[in-house]
């Protein structure tokens, strides 16, 4: 591999996947948890924005990126808890509540984020997996967002919890059949509120991974609909956290396709290729919702998706 020219495209794709996967991963893990408990939160895009904004603001104010992450998680948890509380009211549509969260989160993030558009905040230190290579392209492709490492651990941890932990099974139970779960002595509303809150916190951390890692900064266009696409990703992953990881990498790579081709000099179609993640989302929604097989794993209480 002396000449990176041949490898430029796959390398750029891999690098892009690793770089862009982090927000997808966190949002989809959060959404996976929320949906497993029988709720859907279509407002994660708003939470993602609030997370990105508050992470940046807190990092800027304190000088520590880790404080930024904590702030993003807290803000996301608050939004998630609000959604959970709204949903537990009788006769409240989960989707409508989620749309409210989406609008509210976007509004808060844009309003409170105005002062942060200019300044620079400290960024998360990268994990330099590519340090062994003398090629700058390899080295830069393998500069990992530390949150990605956390996300990977989390994905496997969540899968293990859904299989082997009492709380994990409890979440699945309340999400699959609330009446049965109640009869088992589980607390449906409490479990769902906790899952929705935690799911919000994860989406918030997803926002932090956007604004605190290279290229850093807060802008209103920072998410580009990644929160919404992450919801499709959960369906694609059939509500399995580890498959969410794979799907997040795939979406990340799709997002990197246009810039990578552009950098490699095939610049003509790049405008169109920016649509790759959106096209992927659409394809997943179409294939995923029309074939009964793909609906395996769908929590029984998620009536809106049936």
């Amino acid at each position: 591999m002396s000449d990176p020219g041949l490898w430029a495209l796959p390398l750029a794709l891999a690098g892009g996947a690793l770089r862009a996967a982090t927000p997808y991963l966190f949002v989809s893990l959060g959404e996976c948890l929320t949906e497993k408990s029988g709720r859907i939160n279509v407002g994660v895009e708003g939470i993602l924005l609030v997370g990105a904004m508050s992470a940046f603001g807190a990092a800027w104010a304190t000088g520590s990126p880790w404080a930024g992450i904590a702030a993003a998680a807290a803000a996301g948890a608050a939004m998630g808890a609000l959604h959970g509380a709204l949903c537990s009211l009788a006769r409240v549509s989960h989707v409508a509540a989620g749309v409210a969260i989406l609008v509210l989160g976007t509004g808060i993030a844009f309003f409170a984020g105005k002062p942060f558009i200019e300044p620079q905040a400290p960024t998360l230190p990268a994990i330099e997996l590519g340090a062994w290579s003398s090629h700058p392209a390899v080295a830069s492709a393998l500069r990992l967002n530390p949150l990605l490492a956390l996300g990977v651990v989390l994905a496997f941890g969540m899968r293990a919890a859904f299989r082997r932990a009492r709380v994990g099974l409890a979440v699945i139970a309340v999400g699959d059949d609330a009446a049965a779960a109640t009869a088992m002595g589980l607390h449906v509303d409490r479990t769902r509120l906790a899952a929705t809150t935690l799911g919000g916190a994860l989406a918030g951390i997803g926002g932090a991974s956007l604004s605190l890692f290279h290229p850093t900064g807060w802008s209103e266009a920072i998410s580009g609909g990644q929160g919404l696409m992450a919801m499709a990703l959960v369906i694609f992953a059939r509500w399995d956290p580890v498959r969410c990881l794979g799907a997040a990498l795939l979406f990340g790579a799709a997002g990197a396709l246009a810039p990578a081709l552009q950098a490699a000099g095939h610049g003509h179609a790049w405008q169109l290729l920016h649509l790759a993640p959106h096209a992927l989302t659409l394809a997943i929604l179409v294939t995923g919702t029309t074939r009964a097989r793909a609906m395996r794993g769908l929590p029984g209480e998620l009536a809106v998706l049936r």
Partner: protein, 519 residues
């Protein structure tokens, strides 16, 4: 977790329990004495208060007045947890297992002392050891969603025993079971009770089961106990029925055979329908239902009856073959159903024939709401006309009065069944598909339904009656076919039907016995 056999079940007594729901008096000073080792049947008409009494005794419902005494001590049961601590537990009328989890996962999750982090190998071994001591066979690794009703019911019972419960309340445990499954389950429970290991309180509408398996019987009528006795040989089904309704229920006589054969209204040829849970497809070469005829379909549930009915009702696509109604290809859409004056009472009517969250009144008029007098010419729904129609339909099978505005899902199973019957068994029905039409109904109402079927037949309606109740089939049907693994394996005239032959065919032993009747 100790084995089910160590300490004997406690004696549980209800003294003067009362409970109202708004204006409805569900329980009016009811007494019950469940002695250790007894199998106590709780009988009564729909709405008599059986479920309410049982719920009060397992802490799922608070009584307004009265005492609950366990082993001589007064107790208050505010929550099922309190009942659990005393060894009382309930198997609900609707399954309370999480469908997407396995049997083992369900059993472990139900335990209050389930470990935070579960070692499945250890749990499996513990369960296997436990099951060696209990005569109920279950497959711990199976997903609950894949289980038949009878298997789920066994899992529910195992769960109760595993939770250490000694007094088991079962609310219509056999309503979803085939007669064979019901017999097996109750037999096992009776054996456990006879060994002094558990007491059982069960509600049911099937009097034969009570006679065969119960040791005591308590009869409720409008929330009051009207009879309470140990079961001995002097008590037969007729006695029980008389206690329940206050008089002997009318028996439905076999309809007189029809002389001349009417034209076929429903005709099935070379039908192939794929099965829900895999398994051999429904494959019916020829099946006709003529005007003025009741054709009974017997079979252990899960042998393709459901798919056949779904195909007739347009809920499942037909892979091959033809379904003709009045000699024209059947398209099960609203217009053709109306033209053919088609009615259908499917299994699990709440899930299959209602919009569960809509009001009872709206559900009652689902077939007619878009026509005069309910719909105006501009398509507006006249609420007063809707209410009047709903009221009239509700009255046919005495659906609980005053519930018209309530979501139908909140009604008891018996009332949902009555509502769907009222909607589908209207006078001008010409073709009726009915699955277990007397499901969950008390003896009086069940007799009403059967009489209604006979009346419809007399007016020239063609009836396909799918039932798990052999007696019902034999009394009502002009012809009976038996389905096994998707195929019709036996076809016989109702008058010539022989229980033994039907039973054998249902179990798949009929290759030779195909005494095919005309058709």
């Amino acid at each position: 977790m100790t084995s089910a056999g160590l300490d004997p079940p406690p004696r549980v007594e209800a003294r003067g329990l009362a409970r109202r729901f708004g204006p409805v008096i569900a329980l009016d000073a009811a007494d019950l004495d469940v002695r250790p080792g007894s199998v106590h049947a709780l009988l009564g008409e729909n709405g008599a208060g059986k479920s309410t009494l049982a719920k009060c005794l397992v802490g799922a419902l608070a009584a307004d007045r009265g005492r609950i005494v366990v082993d001589g001590r007064d107790v208050t049961l505010r929550h099922p947890r309190d009942a659990h601590a005393l060894g009382l537990g309930m198997v609900w009328q609707h399954f309370s297992l999480v469908p997407c989890l396995t049997v083992l996962e369900n059993l472990v999750l139900a335990r209050p002392d389930a470990p935070r982090w579960i070692d499945w190998r250890h749990e499996r071994a513990a369960l296997d050891a436990f099951l060696e001591d209990v005569p109920l066979r279950i497959d711990p690794g199976a997903r609950v969603a894949d289980l038949a009703a009878g298997e789920k019911q066994r899992v529910e019972v195992v769960r109760q025993l595993r939770l250490g419960h000694r007094v088991l309340f079962l609310d219509e445990p056999t309503s979803v079971l085939t007669p064979q499954e019901a017999d097996a389950l109750l037999g096992r429970l009776r054996a456990l009770a006879d060994a002094g290991r558990i007491s059982v309180v069960l509600t049911t509408h099937k009097l034969d089961e009570v006679i065969a398996h119960a040791t005591h019987v308590t009869v409720l009528r409008r929330g009051r106990v009207v009879a309470d006795a140990p079961l001995d040989r002097t008590i037969d089904a007729a006695t029980l029925a008389t206690w329940m309704v206050g008089h002997a229920p009318p028996s439905v006589a076999r309809p007189a055979p029809r002389d001349a054969r009417q034209p076929a209204r429903l005709s099935i040829r070379a039908l192939r329908v794929a099965r829900a849970a895999g398994g051999p497809p429904v494959a019916i070469d020829a099946l006709d239902v003529h005007a003025g005829e009741i054709v009974g379909v017997a079979g252990v549930s899960g042998n393709g009856q459901r798919e056949l009915v779904e195909a007739l009702c347009g809920q499942r696509s037909v892979d091959q073959g033809a379904i003709d109604v009045d000699a024209r290809p059947w398209r099960a859409d609203r217009a053709s159903m109306r033209a053919a004056r088609f009615g259908c009472v499917p299994e699990s009517p709440l899930a299959n024939a209602t919009a569960p969250d809509m009001a009872l009144a709206d559900n009652l008029v689902l077939r007619v709401f878009d026509r005069a007098p309910i719909a105006s010419r501009t398509g507006r729904v006249r609420r007063d006309a809707l209410r009047a129609s709903a009221q009239a339909l509700a009255a046919r099978f005495a659906v609980q009065s005053g519930a018209l505005g309530r979501a139908i899902a909140t009604l008891s199973g018996g009332n949902v069944q009555r509502a769907v019957l009222g909607r589908e068994l209207v006078d001008d029905t010409r073709l009726l598909v009915a699955v277990n039409p007397a499901f969950g109904l008390d003896v009086g109402a069940a007799a009403d339904v059967r009489r209604r079927l006979v009346e419809l037949r007399a007016t020239g309606c063609a009836v396909l009656l799918v039932s798990e109740d052999l007696d019902e089939l034999i009394t009502l049907s002009d012809r009976i076919v038996v389905m096994f693994e998707g195929r019709v394996v036996l076809s016989t005239l109702g008058v010539e039907a022989d229980r033994q032959a039907l039973g054998l065919a249902m179990a798949g032993h009929s290759a030779i016995a195909s005494a095919r009747a005309d058709n």
